[in-house]
Amino acid sequence: MKTSRRDFIQKTALFTGVFTLGFDWFSAEAAAETSTMEVVTGAGRFNAFLSIDNLGKITLFSPNPEIGQGIKTAFPVVVAEELDVDWAQVQVEQANLDTKLFERQLTGGSGALKHSWERLRKAGATVRKMMMQAAADQWKVDIGQCKTSKGFVLGPAGQKASYGSLAEAASKLPVPTELTYKDRKDYKIIGTRVKGVDNKNVVTGKPLFGIDIRKPGMVFAQIVRPPFGATLKSFSAEDVKKMPGILEVVSFKNKVAIVGENTYAILQARASLTCDYSSDAPLESNETHQNWFDEGMKSEKAQVMRKDGDFAAAIASAAKVIEATYECPFISHSPMEPMNFFADVKADSVLLAGPTQVPQPAQKAVSDLLKIPVDKIQVELSKMGGGFGRRLSNDFVLEAAELSSIIKKPVLVMWTREDDMTGGTYRPAARYRFKAGLDKNGEIIAFALRGVGLNAGNSTRQDNFPVGAIENVLIESVDQKSAVTTGPWRAPITNFLGFAEQAFLDEVAEVAGKDPIQMRLALLEKVKTKPVGKITYEPARFEEVIKQVAEKAQWKKKPGVHQGFSVYYSHLSYVAQIAEVKVEKGKPKVTKVTAVTDCGEVVNLSGAENQVKGAIIDGMGHAMFAKLNFQKGVASPSNFNAYRMIRGNEIPVIDAHFVNNGIAPTGLGEPALPPTGGSIANAIYAATKKRHYKQPFN
């Protein structure tokens, strides 16, 4: 593998004896995949560093914000493996945003690991080779005679030198251009169970999160935001200002901010604040959204996303036509840590601190807003109490910066749970209509999907399976504009589209008189032998997860157990699931989900299992319970008493398996979620003969 000069910024010993290699993890290959993150930030590219001091301390700097997907652990694992050191020798540190050292930092979600795999390996392997070269020079032997093990270079005559002792000499060597990577059979860390690098700090309650930020002179604030689409006319500030512990009440951009000495003082002041709003257009309600769905389904102006063959002619000639409509509401991300951010805006400099997945775009947005150059804006990253996509938006960063610039004080803006749940950037609401035509043998000859989203952009994924296996296809999207703000939500679009599609295919299989698994396999066979149009997935990898899940869950071989199948490709990974449902006291209960995942190489087995199980629980909980209602532009419910989150007594057994085929790894934060609603709904149907077309099911 070739290393180009521009991948490296070699910094020779800025301070004596410390070897720091600047490494551009994301340089050469352009990101082909449009992941969530790129939609928000543009093509991904970032840098990171590893350092080795002359005492042998190895520090890996993780430039990506950690949202609980395990990236802060998984990335350094890859570097440590190729560097050939013991995991126990390594320290991992979160790097703050530094546009001089790093060109771009972002949490790349499921796309991140794939894009950085080569770069991470290169970061480790390069330094390993430089250590070997330094030792070879010292011992006057050929580098080919040297080996490494656990942070030492070993020479042909039994010589042994630690990386620490070689660090300074190595740092003066040219960066090697030819590298060899470890054979995966020699992996010592990759594929094992590596515990989260922050565990110790978490279990002892260290102040790691944005909400825990404390800075000298800092004040607290909460912001009252208007109903969606409304304008602030007036508010009653005088009495509120006089309340104990309240410092200021100010208004900007239709919002009212209450600034105070502590949280409780502000909470009480809020209860006394009244705001008057007006609006030009009628404010949105559930009915508005239903009308927009109806209109979108009838619209002549749908955008054609994909067209193969002639759908209209084929459906007209079909022996049987199946049609079904699916719908999901707006839902909130509800990370356990509500939004918050710290900002200290001075005349010519800004300090931002807190939980954001996109520090650089945040910095840029603040720069644009306040007309302060980016190099005067410092960003410190905190740990994030979950994100699920919510912290890809910058609204809460901008608010904090704007407020600080008005009150001229360092301020931590905190959202209450109610603010977080009613404050927007939701998973968009969507309605899908599927249509399939079967010939007299039960083969699918025509397939159509129309998606109508509310602020969803393209609500379809037009190249998704079974597209590619069917002659006549029409995929259309309609986007209706709403005042309700939306943003990416874990597995954007596919978090519901996956359910709708997998539930529909189950219905199609039933009408065609086919086993749902056999029908999928037959379609994939067609993709291999007679593909139609552009294919974005690999049919062989699809087949493998399907076959494995059927075997592991003993598909249709368990008497008395009702099973439902689904399989979905998203975010570059393949996940097949079989859910099991038992009927208890007349009610269906999901007892088990078996999942087989192909995410290529499994970097950290512990983290991978966490992600798959977490995504299935997330998918199941939101499919069953989550819904926001709208009345006059206001969302409800606003807290966990009425907006139900799945709990520990409601979870099924989850049996998570990985194909682990050594292909460059793809991330896991998202792909196990989209198939979940489908496998569960199909199992519920098997048990009750009742199909679900809407989320939430309950």
Partner: protein
Amino acid sequence: MAINCTVNKKKVSLDIDPNTPLLWALRDHLSLLGTKYGCGIAQCGACTVWVNGEPTRSCVLPISAVSNAQITTIEGLDSAGKHPVQVAWDELDVPQCGYCQAGQIMTAAGLLKKNPHPTDQEIVDGMSGNICRCGTYHRIQEAVKLASKKTKK
């Protein structure tokens, strides 16, 4: 009038609005930031601390109610992280984002204090008041079991 109580074995005096929920007194006035806010209405368990040894939702408990009480927060459980529950949490790699875990740990440690060897069902029931948005429930339940094994008979 100031409210006196003991927090993590230290005597403290809080001269603030007696209606202040214990959560905000801990976080904003005593700088004990390990206890987390999740809902403020006793629904999620993120704010769980011990009041006289009882796991309690600090977000809805006014400090007027803790006069002379003994309060233990995550910082006071074992600052070195050697409590069996903390050890089990690390060993089984429970945390994802980690935000809910202080509350989970205080609930679990409270459960084991009362019932050192709970059945599986008792663990599920005892822990289901705490929400984990990341879905770490399986490992939470396994870790309580592991901690129970580590707890001396």
